[in-house]
Structure formats: C-alpha cells, structure tokens
Amino acid sequence: MRTGSTVNRRTAALLPLVAFLAALPSMAPAFFINFVMTQTLMLGLAAATIVFLAKYGGMVSLAQFLLFGVAGFMYGNAALEAGSRGLNLGWHPWAAVASALAVTTAAAFALGALASRTTGLYYLMLTLVYAVIGYFVFAQITEISGPSGITSIERPELLAAPVSLYYTALGLSVLAYIGFRALGRTAFGLALQGVRDDPVRMASLGFNVPLHRTLAFALGGFVAGLGGLVNVWWNGQIDPASIGIGPTLILLIIAVIGGVSHFEGAWLGAFVYVLMFTYLRDLPLIDRIGITEARFNTVIGAIVLLIMVLSPQGLAGIADRLRRRLPRPRRPGAERPAKTTGRLTRAELIDE
C-alpha cells in the first residue's frame, strides 16, 4: 500500500542515521556521548511526546516535563533502600522501573481525563496549571521528594557503564520515533487525528472523544516516563526545582524550535538546545561582547526567536523545505490541502 511503503521508506532512511549514532561512541569523545548526546536523546524523547499530542491530537501539553519528573521521583523513592530523604522503599531496580512507569502512566491517565473536555488554549493553560501544582506537590510534600531532592540514585546494574545509558536513550528514542509514526496509520492514531480535526463529527461517528484524548495523554505520559527514567539515571538525583516552570518551558521550547509537526523535530530541537547550553558559554568572543552567564538565557531566547522567524515550522520545517527543493517524482493522489492552519499544519500527515 502506498502509505505503508512511504512509512517504510522513511524508516529505511533512518537506518544509516541509527547506524551512525550506534557507532558514534567509538568515534567521538566520551564527554560528547555521555553529556551532549545522552541528554539530547532523553530530552528529545520527552519533547516527542509533546509533538505526538500536538500533531495527532491537537493538544499542546505543558505537563510532559512534570510526568518526566514523576517517573524520576517514583524511581528514586522505590529503588533506594536507605539513606536518601525519600520513601526508601528498597525495591528491586526493575520493580522500581515498572512502578515508576505504572505510576506515571496512571497519573497521566488521571490528568488527561480531567483535561479531556478542553481544547486549544484552555488545554495549554490547564496543563500549565498541572505543571505548577505538580511542582508544588513535590516541593512541599518532602516525604516523596526529600527536603532538597532525592540523591545518590543508582541505575540498574545492566546500565552501569555510562555509555550503556547512551544506548538505552538511543534505543528508546528509535522505538518512540518509529512507534509514534506507525501509530499515526492505525485506527487509534487516525481516530486521534479525527478528534483533532472535528471532535463533534467523531462523536456522531460513535467515538468516545474524551476517552480517546485521555488514552493518548496516558500513552504520552508513559513515553515521557521512559525519558524521565533515563534522566534520573543520568543525573543520579532529582529535586523539585528540576521539574519547575523553567524546565517545563525549556521542553516546550525544544519542541517548538524543532518543529511541533515533525517527530524528528523533537530530537533536532533537543540537540540544538543542548549544544547551545553546553558550548555557547565556552566561545571565546562571548565574554568580550558582554554575554556573561547571567545573560545566557537571553542569548538562547534570541536564537529561538530567530529560528521561529525563519521557520514557524521549526528546524524540521527548514529541513523539510530543503528536501522539497530537491526534484523528486511526485506520487499521484498525494495532493496537499491548500489550506493550512498556521501554527500546526495538518497537511504534513497525509503522505508521510
């Protein structure tokens, strides 16, 4: 089938990239792998859940970083036996992993259900409220977050070597990318896109619209939870400040500069963000022109602004446009809609 083969073609195009990334640790310095790339992959994973909900469901969620954090806190509480300032449940690491994912998914289901009758700007506002409340819950209930975070969290033995964390993040990212894209062609994914385009029509076709939105949000929460686990293993600790409004907005910025209508964009945006964050401050010129640590965020903001002005579709949008410049045989019957809705275009899904 036409659509099937296009998905396969994109997936095939992914192979060389994945092979390259898999070989990267033998070529690049350890710092680049374990710091830049691992962080890119785990933030990309979390940002991909924003893309998933926005692109298919029309739901722009600001709660994804909270869910990322919920998984981290739950793992920290469950895995540590003693000495931390959390619950010290002392479970087997893999039981801790399972519980973290279960709790995150359940939390996402509950939060998603509560928001399932909201759309558009109200969805954004409500999920922002989730993020704020979530932060305060962890900041004030120190039994589950430790007075200043849960520290010395260890990863399962299997992942002891630093590079194995990179491979974990890579594997999860590839799975999420392929999985999300494939989901878009299944009944569930198509129905989600139908809900995005016209919820009233979906209801009259017999669909339970709020439940569909809720299930999508729970799935997004599960994947964000996977990213959150990698994060807590990578950091070795987690504290409430790390899931505050700042990081929440950064994740949104990552998704936006990457391009909210492309899954690639999530990782692309994360890569650019981590690069800026890591290397910009080391550039020799920067001190001399008055950009010090304190003004660093302004610079990132300016770069984000520049990307957005150049391409409202973000970096993935720029890449897409370049790709379209190249002459390529057009497939028949794959016309794009003339009308796009600006912020999130719906056209992109058609012949991916």
Partner: protein
C-alpha cells in the same frame, strides 16, 4: 415508550423507527423548534422542506443527539434516546451528514471513510494494523469509488472542492450501512451530473433503509421522497405526498413563494 401513537397514518401499523414528540428547542430567547411531532416508518423516504431558519437542521441535531431538546422526547427503534449522547446513536443505526460538510481536513478521503467504518465496527481503539484493518481499508476504497471519489482516495479532505466534500460526507454516512440515514442538504453545491449521481445512489439503497432528507432542490427531494414534511418557523405546517404538498396553498405562500430568495 409503549404508547401506541398513530397521529401520522402508518401504512402497515409497524412501530415508527424514529419518533419525535413535542420537541422544543430554545436558543436563548429564540424558539428554533416549537413542538415538533414526527413519526418515520422503517424504510420510509421522508423529505423535510422549509425556508432557511425553519429549524430543519436543528431537528436533525436533536434526532442525532448533537443537541439536547429543551422539551419533548425522541425515540429511535422504540428506545427513548432523548438524553442519549450522540456517540451512542450510531449503534442504533443512525448516520448523518452535516449541512456544512464536516470532514477531517488533515486526513485523506480514504482515511475519512475508514474512520467512519472503524467507529461503526468499534475498532477505533486498536493501536496496530491487522487483517481486519486491511479489509476495512479495501472497503473504504470501494465506498470512495461509489461516491465518485476513487481518483481522490489519497487527497486530504481539506483540499477537496466543495461538492467533493459533500460526496465524502455521504460516503462516510453510507459506509456504516445505516438503518436511518439523515442527509442535510446533500445536493447543495453539487453539479448537475453529481446530483444525478446522488439520486441514483439514494434510489439504489436497500428498501429497509430509512432516509430523512433535508433538501432545497425540489427535483431531488420529490424524486427521492415518498412523503414530504414542510417546516416553517419551528413548526411543521404541512405534510403529505409530494403531490399533496405541491398543491397546498400554505406551502406556496410560506415556502415555495419565498424560494426565489434563497
């Protein structure tokens, strides 16, 4: 709902498949429906006529469950579904189209019809593709073909011309093989050839299918319908066979007289 009501003469005395009783709808101070009674027999082809603003679409919305009436009741197949949410009504065999085509702009023609099928077969939460899926896809393509959208299977609904979107709406409704098919001005915006095709399609429906048709095109309406109800200002003002209605002076005055205005 055990009332044996025979306000409208039933040809064979069977219980009506759609039964509307004293339905009122108020939008703020505006009474869009002022007490509508309507019985539709199984297999009947009913045209609803009336000037713009008469309340025809509102009546459809009440029957399909898109809005709850301010007063009165609606029963489908003898089941009182006045408060039943719209998403539960397809299970009673109801499918409808909208006056302003409501399709999924970002999805292709085939995907739009596929979704109608998936919703109908309760397969819409399946997160993988299976053999059932492939069959539904093949079916969706056949439906697209039947509403003359075969060449546009892969086109996004948002990129279709107006008339094509109406055809797609029709395809989505037909795909579910409904028992009660409600069409809100399906011929508007269609070319002459497309109208002919529409009439052919509707005439070819199995006899047991009940059709409720809102239509401004008299030609289409009178060819399809065995009975006509005329609405004006939230009330039914006349009912009968096409010939009876055509001859009714009130209809001439209220509706046919003003037809030139629309």
């Amino acid at each position: 709902m055990a009332e044996a009501d025979t306000t409208d003469a039933e040809p064979d005395g069977a219980a009506p498949i759609v039964q509307v009783r004293s339905v009122r709808v108020a939008f703020g101070g505006l009474l869009a429906l002022r007490g509508i009674d309507l019985d539709v027999a199984r297999g009947e082809r009913l045209a609803i006529l009336g000037p713009n603003g008469a309340g025809k679409t509102t009546l459809f919305n009440v029957i399909a469950g898109d809005i709850a009436p301010t007063g009165g009741t609606v029963a489908i197949k003898g089941v009182d579904c006045t408060r039943l949410p719209s998403r539960r009504r397809p299970r009673l065999g109801v499918a409808r189209t909208y006056q302003k085509a409501r399709t999924f702009e970002g999805l292709s023609v085939a995907d739009n019809i596929y979704l109608a099928l998936a919703g109908h077969r309760r397969r819409h939460r399946v997160p993988w593709r299976s053999a059932v899926d492939r069959r539904m896809r093949a079916e969706a393509e056949r439906v697209a073909e039947s509403v003359r959208l075969g060449d546009h299977r892969g086109t996004a609904a948002g990129a279709l011309a107006h008339g094509q979107r109406r055809q797609l709406e029709l395809g989505m409704a037909l795909a579910t093989e409904p028992e009660v098919l409600m069409l809100d001005e399906p011929a508007s915006g269609l070319s002459r050839g497309e109208r002919e095709h529409l009439v052919t399609l509707l005439e070819a429906l199995p006899e047991a299918v009940t059709v409720l048709l809102i239509e401004h095109d008299m030609d289409v309406a009178f060819r399809i319908a065995g009975r006509v109800v005329v609405m004006a200002d939230g009330e039914t003002i006349a009912a009968g066979t096409p010939d009876q209605v055509r001859g009714d002076p009130r209809v001439h005055e209220i509706y046919l007289g003003s037809e030139g205005g629309t």
